[in-house]
């Protein structure tokens, strides 16, 4: 149950990180979205998500199933006979806290230019429907779980992070870059407005990740939970160094935002196999995650997909890497497993890419997804919220 709270804190972590890495004139907007997202996640999950994700035995091995609307209590819900050491509600609330994560990831990548309404609309559908459907494939006993060599994703490198990452990729692509990011005379930097806020965000995310991974043990077995804690801690630490070295080699600066992204990439990377790895393997996975995230940021900038916070690199690239790593390292490593992992990555990717494309594209064609140019230049805070994040301070832009 503590794990549930830690996952809750991650939403604050995301809110802080994304606010810190964007400009002061869009801060209210980012915080507004990231405050509503967990609320949306909790409510939609209660209404429909939980049943979509865990439809029950009738749908075992299937693609989609719905066990009813709302929450209907099983018998003996309040005793731990429901699941060793866990009650029905413990299970529900832990899963519900997870749910909103996918939308938070998208929020970072589309920041500073997306319209509020369409984004919230997308979030409701993505969190309420797409995420639980994907989740069901593996965690709800769906077909990915019943492969010969079952697809393995311990706490959601693919099921959670890549789902968010694909949505982020599609959203950032369909929106186009922020004004002034890629100009005729080359790429321009748009620095985030508060490094302390971003740092607080990453520490809180790391903190929450212990719950994210630790809680996914879904039992209070101290042996396994402690192992997961260790791999989570080591992978994050190694990710910091992976990103630090790569960024230094490429840019010749000690870039704290890259170190922060590297920590997250290390964490996303270990998420799929947190219970399968030893210390050394966790360090390698984290370190490579940290390298990949820096290369990812450079790559997406090169193809002019503008992701202000690096969400695609962290969650999509990190998620794919972590999922594959289960096939290469640790207790399940085998060629068969690599294939299963690739199937999982591919199927989930195709589904998420498609559904988020459909949603963003039809929103774009109908009500539009991007604020108009003047609003973007003046800032979303003034225009969408008639507010300022820091009214007492003299700020630029």
């Amino acid at each position: 149950m503590v794990a549930t709270l830690l996952v809750f804190v991650m939403h604050l972590g995301f809110a802080s990180l994304e606010a810190g890495l964007t400009r002061a004139k869009n801060t209210v907007n980012i915080l507004f979205k990231n405050t509503l997202i967990p609320a949306i996640g909790l409510l939609t999950y209660a209404f429909i998500g939980f049943n979509l994700m865990y439809p029950g035995e009738a749908f075992e091995g299937g693609f989609i199933g719905l066990g009813g609307l709302g929450i209907s209590l099983p018998e003996a819900w309040n005793t731990s006979s429901y699941n060793e050491g866990y009650t029905f509600y413990t299970d529900f609330i832990f899963q519900a806290m997870f749910a909103a994560t996918a939308a938070t990831i998208v929020s970072g990548a589309v920041a500073e230019r997306i319209k509020l309404g369409p984004f919230l609309f997308f979030s409701v559908l993505y969190v309420g429907i797409c995420y639980p459907i994907v989740g069901m494939w593996k965690w709800g006993g769906g077909f990915l779980d019943t492969l010969d060599t079952p697809f393995y994703d311990f706490a959601g490198s693919t099921i959670v992070h890549s789902v968010g990452g694909w949505g982020a990729l599609v959203g950032a692509f369909l929106l186009g870059p922020r004004i002034g990011k890629y100009t005729a005379s080359g790429m321009r930097a748009i620095p985030g407005h508060s490094i302390p806020l971003a740092t607080i965000g990453v520490f809180l995310l790391w903190f929450g990740w212990f719950g994210f991974n630790g809680g996914s043990v879904l039992s209070a077995d101290p042996g396994e939970v402690s192992l997961v804690f260790v791999t989570t801690a080591i992978a994050g630490a190694a990710g910091a160094f992976g990103a630090l070295f790569t960024a230094y080699l490429k840019f010749k600066t000690y870039d704290i935002t890259m170190v922060l992204n590297g920590i997250l990439a290390g964490l996303v990377g270990i998420t799929a196999g947190a219970d399968l790895m030893g210390i050394g393997e966790a360090a390698i996975i984290g370190f490579i995650g940290g390298i990949l995230v820096v290369l990812g940021v450079v790559f997406f900038d090169k193809i002019k997909i503008d992701d202000p916070v690096g969400a695609i690199s962290v969650h999509l690239i990190g998620g794919i890497w972590g999922t594959l790593a289960v096939g290469f390292f640790g207790d399940l490593a085998s060629f068969q497993q690599v294939i299963s992992q690739l199937i999982g990555i591919g199927v989930v990717g195709a589904f998420c890419f498609l559904t988020s494309w459909i949603m963003f594209f039809s929103l774009k064609r109908s009500i539009g997804i991007r604020v108009d140019e003047r609003e973007e230049v003046e800032g979303l805070d003034i225009n969408e919220h008639s507010m300022q994040a820091y009214p007492d301070f003299a700020s630029k832009d």
Partner: protein, 112 residues
């Protein structure tokens, strides 16, 4: 020697900068100011109370230059600073008596 003070839209700074740089004017000073004028600031709301912030943020550019450059600089600002909507700002010109370069005591137009 003249001093040109222009109060411009902050969003037009870059264009104006390019234009006067094109004239060879590489030296100037600018800072954020607040303007009262015909354009009204966007109303804001806080906890149900709507209010107009008392001013519009603007940028002020100060260029001290030799008399013969004044006109072309003003043309730059007029042409690049215009949107045609209320609130584009003003240019004022003043006489400057003397100028010094701190680095090497240069005085007069050579110091500009």
């Amino acid at each position: 020697m003249k001093k040109i003070e222009a109060i411009i839209r902050t969003s037009k700074f870059e264009e104006i900068h390019q234009c006067i740089a094109g004239l060879g004017v590489k030296f100037f000073t600018f800072y954020e100011v607040k303007g009262m004028g015909m354009e009204h600031p966007k109303p804001q709301t806080y906890r149900g109370v709507a209010y107009e912030p008392a001013y519009i943020p603007r940028t002020k550019i100060e260029i001290v230059t030799a008399d013969e450059h004044v006109d072309e600089i003003i043309q730059c600002i007029l042409s690049q600073g215009r949107t045609g909507e209320v609130g584009d700002g003003k240019i004022f010109v003043y006489e400057a008596l003397s100028a010094y370069r701190i680095r090497n005591n240069d005085t007069g137009e050579i110091a500009l």
